[in-house]
């Protein structure tokens, strides 16, 4: 099993949490995993990118045109990060209008659920439903249970399931 994943968004959207959930799902399956994350100033509302490499890799970074899956929480980042993806790679985007890739209005759904930050797990749900990722719904839920603070757990699971069904 080898898979290279990018998670793209802007600071405050929960890119880091989504990255950790996916990486934890790998750890739970006994798969080696490496991630690289954006911290510091860029997190203040700026464009952020995480990379995740599952399988026997030595570096957490992804070369141009090598990512198998792209999860985009901010549609404008398509222009910035599209080139990392393989031409045939899975592209999943949080967007309220039609266009390239598999799309879902995750922000709109998250707002309905009372918390805009939930869009990250809604998008994860869509990725799992489209079978884009190395992990399945049960494994993702387990990872969310491991990582989510208790008071947000139910909300997080509900968001994930919302994306899974949509």
């Amino acid at each position: 099993m080898k898979q290279q994943i990018i998670v793209s968004g802007i600071g405050g959207q929960g890119v880091l949490f989504l990255t950790r959930v996916i990486a934890q799902a790998a750890v739970d399956q006994g798969l080696p995993v490496l991630t690289a994350e954006t911290h510091g100033m860029a997190q203040r509302g700026g464009t952020v990118l995480s990379t995740i490499k599952v399988g026997s890799y030595h570096s957490p970074l992804i070369r141009t045109g090598q990512a198998d899956v792209g999860l985009l929480l901010w549609e404008d980042n398509l222009a910035v990060h599209r080139s990392l993806l393989k031409p045939e790679g899975h592209l999943l985007i949080n967007a309220d209008e039609e266009g390239e890739g598999a799309r879902i209005d995750a922000s709109g759904l998250a707002r309905e659920m009372g918390n805009p930050v939930l869009s990250n797990l809604i998008l994860l749900g869509l990725a799992v439903r489209r079978q884009a990722l190395f992990c399945d719904a049960v494994q993702c839920e387990k990872a969310v249970r491991t990582l989510a603070p208790e008071r947000f757990l139910d909300q997080n699971l509900a968001a994930f399931r919302r994306g899974l069904e949509d």
Binding site: P60, T64, G65
Partner: protein, 609 residues
């Protein structure tokens, strides 16, 4: 205590923090700075896992943190000091002398470098600093290796009684990996300082001997069998050719060789300790290879020491001399070195959304008031979230920690010589003020600089994730301690004009700024200080504790974009038609500080019940 290795998904910094506990470190001190911050945080979060007493502190700056850890190592205990690369400049004075005098217990200095740079004012290479300081440095290639190297560093430190540097880079610090945990050590050491003034208080008379001893030690360190470059031999298809890499670039290279089907075909060396580099290794490379490619971040530290006639790397331009060596960059260099075709699919350079201050950030309100009060002022600022005041045109200089007050004073002196002077408003965060602002303030006062210093007090070290500051009365472990007020410090520095204001009250802040300007231009030359005090929005208690309004844009909006361009709150955007501004309710925190930014009074607020 678990006796089997447990696997956890850990960030590089967390892995290093855990490894400090495993190694029996008892004193750990740091000043926060991206990408190093989470190391001490992890030690604090995991302090219950330690088997022996553990003192953890956020010191007020890196020099002090270094000296705390140093003294602990003099007593025979294991200690650690953590900082980022530019923090080593602050700690340079004790760092350089420690190389000569050494330590007793193990001391590891963890310095996180930032090739790129992602969040720093330069790309300096700590390995080169170590070459200049004559201090051994270890260069890990992954989070797991960084954790392993902590014990290696302590063992080396204790064997030779020297300080050892562990140098992870951003891509190690902020990567996550499945890492095996090991049981923490119980070393049962009692603090015992053996007086030896000829060493610990060495006057110049003793230093040549200590330097000679250091040089001898370094030769032995360079020859340490466990720290020799690790060879993965090739199959002979690339005769007399080798690749030499260290740090995360080694990881990029291994993945790349696999991808290109070249894994196991070329002799590949991983350098674990870039300084001191073993002389046997240098001789071996000269003897066995005609061509070598050296891959390292950021400076040619290994390349310079090798001085190999067939070496390619940064010196001949095969690799760029600046910036991060990403896998794309490594691919290009490798293909050039091996004469392989390379069709670079250079994607257009796009930066995406630029960073900005959070919605509701008190700094934004402070900057707006400064700009309104002094449209033609001069604005030196400093390192922290408030650097982003640049977007608002209220930050003209950012140099290094604490430089802003001295720069402000320097601007004043320079202009004042010519007669008139502009209003200089310096902005400095509370943590930075304690770090290195205080001496600069004292200096500005005694040199009679007529400047306004605004201390942006949000009661935290916000940029690095909210570490406690001295006026909060909290230690790194979360225990209560004495709180050191900013006001008495400012007064004791000889400042006569001191006011405190919540920047959300922008009219008052503007009034105070103008009063301060009258003061500095008055008969008594001096510095005016305004403390702009409001909690950080990253602290949920601050947000839930303040008034929240429903903020809307009325039909009076002309679409002039002043609010977006000059105030730059991420919660204000243009509507679909582009004709009018609107409030993004997902992001708005309801503070209402944007209201004065509209020249047409089209932004209004209504109190939420």
């Amino acid at each position: 205590m678990k006796d089997h290795a447990e696997i956890e998904l850990l960030m590089g910094n967390e892995a290093i923090g855990r490894a400090l506990i495993e190694a029996g470190c008892q004193i750990a001190a740091a000043y926060p700075g991206t990408p190093s911050t989470e190391i001490l945080q992890a030690v604090a979060d995991r302090r219950e896992e330690a088997l022996e007493p553990l003192h953890i502190e956020w010191s007020v700056n890196e020099k002090i943190a270094f000296e705390i850890a140093l003294a602990a190592a003099y007593t025979g205990k294991r200690s650690a000091v953590v900082m980022k690369q530019v923090g080593l400049n602050v700690a340079a004075d004790p760092f350089m002398r420690t190389a000569y005098l050494g330590v007793k217990g193990g001391m590891v200095t963890i310095v996180a470098d930032d090739p790129g740079p992602h969040s720093s004012q330069n790309e300096q290479d700590t390995r080169l600093f170590c070459l200049q300081g004559r201090v051994p440095v270890l260069d890990p290639a992954s989070p797991a290796e960084a954790a392993q190297m902590v014990e290696t560093a302590y063992a080396l430190s204790e064997k030779f009684e020297i300080n050892v540097v562990l140098r992870p880079t951003t891509r190690i610090c902020h990567s996550r990996q499945n890492v095996a945990l090991h049981p923490p050590k119980r070393l049962e050491r009692q603090a015992r300082f053996e007086k030896d003034p000829s060493r610990w208080a060495a006057t110049p008379a003793f230093l040549p001997a200590l330097h000679r001893k250091l040089n001898h030690t370094l030769e032995q360190v360079a020859a340490e069998p466990d720290l020799q470059p690790q060879l993965t031999p090739g199959d002979g298809s690339h005769p007399r050719t080798a690749l030499v890499a260290s740090g995360i670039v080694y990881g990029h290279l291994v993945d790349l060789l696999d991808d290109l089907g070249l894994g196991g075909s070329i002799d590949l060396y991983q350098v674990l300790m870039p300084y001191p580099l073993s002389s046997q290794f240098r001789e071996q490379l000269r003897r066995d290879y005609d061509r070598i490619l050296v891959l390292e971040e950021t400076y040619p530290v290994i390349e310079l020491q090798l001085a190999h006639p067939g070496a390619r790397g940064k010196q001949d331009g095969t690799l760029p001399r600046e910036g991060e060596l990403t896998p794309d960059v490594v691919e290009q260099a490798l293909c050039a070195f091996l004469d392989r075709p390379f069709s670079p699919e250079t994607p257009p350079e796009r930066r995406g959304q630029r960073p900005s201050l959070c919605p509701g950030c008190p700094h934004r309100a402070s900057f707006a008031a400064i700009k309104r009060a002094f449209p033609r002022g001069l604005f030196p600022s400093d390192i922290g979230c408030y650097t982003l005041g640049m977007n608002l045109g209220a930050v003209d200089t950012v140099h290094c920690m604490g430089a802003c007050i001295s720069q402000g004073a320097g601007f004043y002196q320079s202009y004042a010589q010519d007669g008139d002077f502009p209003t200089v408003v310096v902005t400095i965060g509370d943590s930075t003020f304690f770090h290195s602002g205080i001496p600069a303030l004292i200096n500005a006062v005694i040199q009679k600089a007529r400047i306004i210093v605004m201390i942006l007090d949000n009661a935290t070290t916000a940029m690095t994730g909210g570490q406690p500051v001295p006026h909060l009365g909290l230690t790194a472990s979360g225990d209560a301690t004495r709180a050191i007020g900013i006001e008495p410090l400012v007064r004791a520095a000889g400042v006569d004009f001191l006011e405190v204001c919540d920047p959300y009250d922008q009219q008052r802040l503007e009034r105070l700024l103008k009063e301060a300007d009258r003061h500095i231009r008055g008969p008594e030359p001096g510095v005016a200080v305004i403390i702009s005090r409001h909690g950080c929005m990253m602290d949920s208690a601050v947000l839930s504790g303040q008034e929240k309004y429903q903020v809307t844009v009325t039909e009076d909006c002309t679409g002039c974009k002043r609010c977006i361009q000059a105030f730059e709150c991420p919660a204000i955007e243009m509507d679909e038609s582009g004709a009018r501004a609107r409030i993004n309710t997902d992001r708005c925190v309801g503070c209402g500080t944007c209201i004065p930014s509209c020249p047409f009074n089209a932004i209004v607020k209504e109190k939420l019940s």
